[in-house]
């Protein structure tokens, strides 16, 4: 028997369903050039590593469907993403056992922080497609992180690197007064809610 939650149960408090897919991001949309694009793993790794676009897109892929919740109060259900699971990156990055957290980086100084445990969840993916179509630049294409269990600012658009850390360092929005954990069903929107 498959138990499926109703839409009402899938929409966190303070959220409403969106019909489309609103476009929001900090700063300009970066230009993508597959010849010069690099994805860098650094910080607490045995050796820094950089992958080209061809290398990154050759890693094993998965497809999964998940809901997406933006802190600006819209939710979008049943998104199908295809891409490289975070676990595949972690397995190739030669990460030090001392690492407990990571900052996922993007151009123009954007970043978001997460515990490694959260990133290693089986629904976390660096996605190239959304609902079967290549991810548009305005939605983070050609590749974005997707972390469905957190508010969407943690799902870093145009991700281009991971910094592995032995502590929880706040990212772009977390420094600007937004919640370090960002669980939608606990409505963890702002830093003043943190214990």
């Amino acid at each position: 028997m498959i138990l499926r939650r109703s839409n009402d149960e899938r929409i966190p408090p303070g959220q409403h369903l969106t019909r489309g897919w609103p476009v929001l991001h900090e700063g300009p949309i970066p230009r993508f050039d597959p010849a010069t694009w690099r994805f860098r793993c650094f910080g607490l790794v045995e050796r820094e590593i950089e992958w080209t676009w061809d290398e990154f897109t050759s890693f094993p892929r998965t497809q999964l469907t998940s809901d997406f919740h933006c802190v600006t109060a819209w939710s979008k259900l049943d998104n199908t993403w295809e891409g490289v699971p975070f676990r595949e990156i972690y397995a190739r990055a030669d990460v030090s056992p001392a690492a407990t957290h990571a900052l996922v980086h993007a151009p123009f100084g954007y970043s978001a922080n997460l515990p490694l445990d959260a990133l290693l969840d089986d629904d976390v993916v660096f996605a190239f497609t959304h609902d079967g179509k290549p991810l548009e630049p305005k939605h983070g294409g050609p590749m974005r992180l997707v972390v469905p269990k957190r508010y969407a600012w943690k799902s870093v658009k145009w991700a281009d690197g991971i910094e592995f850390l032995d502590h929880n360092e706040r990212g772009f929005w977390e420094v600007r007064g937004y919640h370090n954990d960002a669980f939608p069903f606990e409505e963890q929107r702002y830093s003043w809610q943190e214990a």
Partner: protein, 74 residues
């Protein structure tokens, strides 16, 4: 009587939303409105207690720095 930190945060959030949704409209106009919202927030800051004054002054400075990077010509 101390000022209302919620009113200051609300204006900062207004600036955040203007910046985040700027690409859907006239970006420069959105950035100008975001700067105006931050200026409104700054006007309320002297009424707050000391820790809140420090906190919100830092938050506004971060956003002004972001706007200077995204819209350097303004």
């Amino acid at each position: 009587m101390p000022g209302d930190p919620a009113a200051v945060w609300s204006l900062i959030q207004r600036a955040d939303e203007l910046i985040k949704y700027a690409s859907n409209r006239d970006e420069r106009a959105a950035y100008a409105q975001a700067r105006a919202a931050l200026t409104e927030a700054e006007i309320l800051i002297p009424e707050l207690d000391e820790p809140q004054r420090v906190r919100f002054t830092e938050q506004i400075a971060l956003r002004r720095g972001d706007l200077d990077r995204y819209d350097p010509a303004s």
